[in-house]
Symmetry: C2
Subunit: 207 residues, 2 copies
């Protein structure tokens, strides 16, 4: 069973302090990920870099959570999904995608994907498009009081998505009891490249 | 248009040398990603770690490729998809998934997902399951002479996938001209958690 454990009840000022400490750390690691893929330095230089990286890891591990980050709640009732691989400001794997919400409920985001997300040369891995769209559709289908998890999702690839600046958005198309139907797309400057639709289901424990 | 640019024709001995230099570097960065998400050290210690990380990045960037890694070909005709976010041994975002192939064409993999891949607390992000399955289905649908890209893919989530040791596999169910139909699943110790099926299409330039 999946539950959103309320690990503490983090006050707003503390949330901002934590964001200022750990957000830039993840940004630095994102740069390092890109450099790790693209570097052409020799073996000795790699060894020196590794020694620095391993030393940084040891420092950070000197005090750490026993398990993964989870989803912590703030005193304002917001979820801090900071370990999330799509939106997590503390997860260097996350681009991160910053999701915005229209008054009418549509969610959208403008973000950039670089070398770390490459499948076909110069283009976004099809599965990365699926990762981002699954998240956006899930985000629009859920809300803070009532989480919904993916039931099914279908993706249609219209053409390859180039690396670089991208846009994605999602809307709810229908709600039927515990099920919410959502649709969305990923786009570059020339329009949609991948379309998605999915059914998201409220888990039994949240009904 | 997406093409597999033959950037060089890397001899086997050189492939092994490159693997030995750059593979362990990505392993170190994978550890750092996990530590970045889970660390609870104070702001000063984070600042020290960041300084080391930024120094390592600068070292690695002192000589680097202009763009993303691409897909380089070896003299044996193999593709070195080392920058790939699922299988890339040089991409710290990749778990990495090591894909094995049965004589009958089935592909499968056993791998581990930790804190960096968390969606619901303690569980794999639904989009990460999609990422891995898209890759596996694409891998089984394609072959070295004839790449195929995702046309459509549908995923059905049977239950939440726990973080930890996982198994995934895929097979071709049908080939119809330029289209290959593939199906597969992700599983934990108790059986399948996510099922996938997709249609993969040979691009015009490869026909």
């Amino acid at each position: 069973m999946v539950e959103f454990t309320e690990i503490g009840d983090v006050p707003s000022a503390e949330v901002e302090r934590l964001r200022a400490v750990y957000g830039p750390l993840a940004d630095s690691v994102r740069e390092l990920i890109d450099a790790t893929i693209r570097t052409e330095v020799d073996a000795d230089t790699v060894a020196d870099a590794r020694a620095q990286i391993d030393a940084a890891t040891a420092r950070l591990r000197s005090r750490q959570a026993d398990g993964p980050f989870g989803v912590q709640l703030t005193s304002g009732g917001d979820r801090m999904a900071w370990g999330n691989p799509v939106i997590g400001i503390r997860n260097p794997i996350a681009p991160p995608v910053i999701v915005k919400r229209d008054p009418d409920g549509r969610v959208y985001t403008d973000f950039e994907l670089g070398a770390a997300f490459e499948g076909p040369p110069g283009h976004v891995h099809g599965g990365v498009a699926a990762l981002v769209l699954d998240h956006l559709l899930g985000e629009v289908a859920a809300n803070a009081e009532s989480p919904r998890f993916t039931g099914t999702i279908s993706l249609r690839y219209l053409r390859p998505t180039p690396l670089g600046r991208l846009h994605a958005e999602a809307t709810i198309t229908r709600v039927d009891g515990v099920k919410a139907y959502a649709a969305g797309y990923l786009a570059d400057d020339h329009g949609p490249t991948v379309e998605a639709e999915g059914v998201f289901i409220q888990p039994k424990w949240a009904r």
